[in-house]
């Protein structure tokens, strides 16, 4: 036995500050972020200088993926039910109330009318795996998209509805144009295009205007 005792350090150190930091970061993330919406396909939106935030409620979204397939979704379940009821009676789809319920709960729909019933009979897992062919918007008449837009408008009947188009960077223009045509056929001429924010390039007219507005605010 050596005569000098070596002081033994406790093997564990105090974790409390570590916990503090972890939960601080956690609360930051909980407050500062928003849940990702469930999307059928990944869509990379283009950038724009527009600074208006995307609408938070009552928006009817048409998503167009790279290949030009269109998917629709409506955020408000109450009106979503009305819309599918309208579609059901208008197109004689013969959907049962249970199937309509599935429709309301699905995040987005991208199947033609003749496949809708069989699609809604699938369970949630199978729906995810199902490769949606997209809603037909093949020509300038708007295809089946025209009926969806008509029925969502009649479900809202005069209340404010935002028509939102979210398309991918590499979506071809005709696909986008056909969707716009479907809206236009329903006398809808105002749309919102979802974009990622970007600053106005320095030296341009918009940049100058924004700078002026900012200095005015500061004063």
């Amino acid at each position: 036995m050596p005569s000098v005792k070596i002081k033994k350090h406790a093997p564990q150190n105090d974790m409390t500050p570590f916990v503090d930091v972890a939960f601080l970061i956690l609360s930051f993330f909980m407050l500062a972020t928003k849940f990702k919406p469930e999307d059928p396909v990944e869509i990379k939106t283009p950038n724009s200088v527009s600074s208006a935030p995307a609408p938070e409620k009552d928006y009817f979204t048409v998503q167009i993926d790279k290949e030009g397939k269109a998917y629709i979704s409506l955020d408000n379940p109450e009106f979503s039910m009305k819309m599918i009821e309208n579609v059901n009676t208008g197109r004689n789809l013969g959907l049962t109330p249970a199937e309509m319920k599935v429709f309301v709960n699905s995040p987005s729909i991208g199947v033609p009318f003749n496949q809708l019933k069989s699609y809604l009979q699938l369970d949630a897992e199978a729906q995810k795996k199902f490769k949606s062919p997209g809603i037909p918007v093949e020509d300038s008449t708007g295809g089946e998209m025209f009926f969806w837009v008509r029925d969502v408008l009649s479900a809202y009947s005069g209340r404010k509805l935002n028509l939102v188009v979210k398309a991918d960077n590499s979506t071809k223009y005709p696909a986008f144009k056909n969707v716009l045509n479907a809206f236009k056929k329903n006398d809808q001429n105002k749309f919102l295009l979802i974009t990622s924010p970007e600053d106005a390039p320095p030296g341009t007219a918009l940049y100058e205007t924004r700078q002026k507005a900012q200095t005015k605010k500061a004063e």
Binding site: K36, P53, P55, Y173, K177, F191, L193
Partner: protein, 177 residues
């Protein structure tokens, strides 16, 4: 390895015979699992949420008019037509003659727009955007954005005419794109 139990024999008070020694409880709690949990939740939130709030760009389109006499007429001096071709190419022409086609790209179109804006009476200035079938959605948004950036008040999005599309194709083929 006898350091786990805090009390030991030497340190305790002597309470006399028969009095049971009260076992000293450690006041520190092991925080490690709590840290684990905290970071697990952080990673969960990082992966499932988004920081960037998407923005929306408003687009107004005119109503379709059937009769040509109802349509707005564009003055020749104020017209500036932008044709969006495939592969991020842009063609433009001033006035109403499509054969005066000039080629440019997204980096240089701004200069042309600014030049046109400065050299034209603001009341006459109309930008006509004609995306072709080969143009992408990104091209369309970019050029609409360019209108906002340069504060062009009057612009219209019109379908490309077959004649113009032919011209664009020929010019693109000639320049090897």
């Amino acid at each position: 390895m006898a350091s786990i139990e805090g009390g030991g024999d030497g340190g305790g008070h002597k309470k006399g015979p028969g009095v049971k020694k009260a076992k000293k409880l450690s006041t520190t709690v092991d925080m490690t699992p709590m840290v684990d949990l905290g970071f697990l939740l952080i990673t969960f939130f990082i992966f499932t949420t988004t920081m960037a709030q998407p923005t929306a760009m408003t687009l107004f389109l005119p109503k379709d008019v059937d009769r040509p006499e109802d349509q707005n007429k564009v003055k020749e001096t104020g017209a500036f037509t932008i044709l969006l071709a495939g592969k991020d190419n842009i063609f433009y022409y001033e006035g109403l003659d499509p054969t005066q086609l000039k080629s440019t790209n997204f980096q240089k179109i701004r200069e042309e727009i600014i030049r046109k804006k400065q050299s034209t009476n603001p009341e006459d200035l109309v930008m006509i955007i004609k995306p072709s079938e080969d143009a992408t959605y990104k091209n369309t948004v970019d050029i609409l954005d360019e209108m906002t950036i340069n504060e062009i008040k009057r612009y219209a999005m019109v379908d490309i005419s077959p004649q113009e599309f032919e011209l664009v194709k020929i010019t693109q083929a000639a320049s090897g794109n």
